[in-house]
């Protein structure tokens, strides 16, 4: 399937690294301007130095509370907004060093599915055109095969060929998200950022869309960055998971490791909130005190210390080091001693 789709593209994949995406110490600050002259009075540190990598054909889940910078990470990787510092390497190539023309040529390989399927489709364009527009723009398939190609893509996303001439408002939320997915898939990408693709949908539809994404991953060998706040969804689809808190990555590792043995106090609290369908199981929930601090003025030291149950003196002054336990990475002072031994 993959071979007949794009034989010429596989040749390009000889890049030495087997990571499709590497993010190194990425920072994205938004300026806060005030007054008549737009004086800079501060910065919202939406993403404050995070690093991770994603292997080809795998899925990384990115979880965290709302406002912790998950979506900004996704958008910055796609260069939909500028970075403040750090590197984003796609196939070993720095995204932010590309010229506009080169970036546009690269766009088909990195696609995104947005959270809200209602507003992210152009309302006055028929679905066939929405899906096909960029396919034509980037000459993904020859003109004579164009119609068949679009039909095939639509069918693989659970849409019918006769949907082509309809407009987005004629579809349900789940179908619209299928259109968004078809739109992304049609460009034959290697990597898709899924920015909370199911949060706007009913639970029953969520499962369909998640399964569709999983099927497409198998079919086309895609890699996903799956941004979500729904832990059970992330557990289902991800190979690795990153947990974000206030713009920083607090824990990162394989899905099984993180779910079986969460190391960071924040991750523990987060996981204790996953509802269990069994009423006899006593839920041992860790309730976090207070609310998430403002990213414009994050706490010193460990950003989580204001709400942490295991707070120590050192947490208030020193930024925690990052500890790597065989690929299970955590940034917390609790593990200082353990690592010394």
């Amino acid at each position: 399937m993959q071979n007949e789709k794009a034989p010429e593209r596989n040749e390009k994949k000889h890049v030495s690294t087997d990571n499709i995406l590497e993010v190194k110490d990425l920072k994205k600050y938004f300026p806060i301007k005030a007054g008549l002259l737009g004086r800079l009075v501060g910065q919202v540190k939406a993403v404050d130095g995070i690093s991770f990598s994603i292997k080809r054909g795998t899925t990384m889940g990115l979880v965290g509370e709302s406002g912790c910078g998950k979506t900004t990470v996704g958008k910055t990787i796609l260069r939909l907004n500028d970075k403040t510092s750090g590197d984003v390497l796609f196939n070993g190539e720095e995204i932010f060093e590309l010229s506009n023309r080169e970036l546009r040529a690269k766009r088909p390989q990195i696609q995104i599915i947005f959270q809200d399927p209602y507003s992210s489709l152009s309302p006055r364009m028929p679905v066939g055109e929405i899906i096909g527009e960029a396919v034509k723009e980037h000459n993904i398939v020859p003109d004579d095969k164009f119609d068949d190609y679009i039909t095939r893509i639509m069918e693989s996303c659970g849409l019918q060929a006769y949907h082509k001439d309809r407009y987005p408002h004629e579809f349900s939320g789940g179908q619209r998200q299928r259109i968004c997915i078809a739109r992304a898939i049609a460009l034959n990408p290697d990597f898709i950022v899924c920015d909370e693709p199911v949060s706007a949908l009913d639970v029953s539809i969520q499962a369909q869309i998640i399964n569709l994404l999983a099927d497409l991953q198998k079919e086309f060998g895609l890699a996903y960055l799956f941004i979500s706040h729904d832990l059970s969804v992330v557990e289902h689809i991800s190979d690795t998971i990153g947990v974000m808190y206030l713009g920083s990555m607090v824990e990162y590792g394989k899905t099984e490791d993180i779910f079986e043995n969460p190391l960071h106090p924040y991750t523990k609290a987060l996981f204790s909130a996953i509802p269990t369908p069994d009423p006899t199981v006593k839920m041992d929930r860790i309730i976090l005190e207070g609310s998430i601090p403002s990213p414009a003025n994050p706490p010193l030291g460990c950003k989580f210390h204001t709400r942490c149950a295991h707070r120590m003196e050192i947490c208030e002054t020193e930024v925690p080091k990052v500890f790597d336990f065989d690929g299970h990475v955590v940034a917390c002072h609790l593990y200082n001693k353990e690592k010394d031994r």
């Binding site: 546009r104 088909p108 696609q111 507003s119 992210s120 489709l121 006055r124 460009l187």
Partner: protein, 328 residues
Amino acid sequence: MSKFIIRRVFLAALIILFGAFIVYAVIRALPSSYVETIARQRATMPNSKSYADWVAELNALFRLDTDVFTGFAGWLGDAIRGEFGNSWSYGIKVTEKFADVIWYTVALNIITFILQIAIAIPLGIMAARKQYSKMDYAITFFAMVGISLPSFFLSTMLKYVFSINLGWFDLYGIVGRYHEQLSSWGKLLDMAHHLVLPVTTLTLLSIGGLMRFTRTNMLEVLGADYIRTARAKGLPENKVINRHAFRNTLIPLVSYMSYLLPSMFAGSMITETLYQIPGIGYIAFGAIRAGDIPFTMFYSVFSIVLTQISLLIADMMYAVVDPRVRIN
């Protein structure tokens, strides 16, 4: 669609009828009565009847001795048969006078309309694409000046600079002193030359509104999620703007421009008067001042009909630019 059009046309006819009645009632209530002016003149002549007798006689002649309803019914009866009567102040048929002067107004306004669109829409798009840049502020400031300036002030300034100081254009009128001696091509150029200042005035005053309207709508669309999608697809920026953003801005723009259409035929009364362009605005202004009921009625009904037609066209244009309306 046809059912919709029929309903709209019926509604439009009703609005025209009531609009015409209101105008008629207002004219009848005006203090500047044509009949009284004539009666006063004739009464001062030697050996004449008294003022009251003249008023009574003339009122009967002009059918003004009835109440407003009967008078309106009489006018309506004639109007439906296409009889708008003779203009009292110009002495010829209303329709004839109208046909003589409307072309000046149309020429003036069509040139203005085209210039307005050609200048305001690109400026609006430019300002929206670079929101809060120096260019945006400059364009917005320029637009504000255009909106705020009264037309009599702007025309006076233009006349002062370009007619009096520089001597490039005549102060007023549509033709020059030697117009009759020119070839037909020369006559056209002469008139075009006289239209430069009025067109400049109208254009400068009108681009502000359209430009700000374009900018606001464009900004709204540019912030939409599907523009982000279009960029993520890797479309070139001009396609993002033209195909996704501008296409969605067109709908409010079309409705805005359809409101401009009736004003193209009726709205430049002050500018035409200031430059003494014998267009419909200038002539109608004279007729209203003289209490010329037939001409004023015709002019008003014409404006009302035009407004209704342009609204109807706007509704149908929606269907052309918005495929969702077309299907439903």
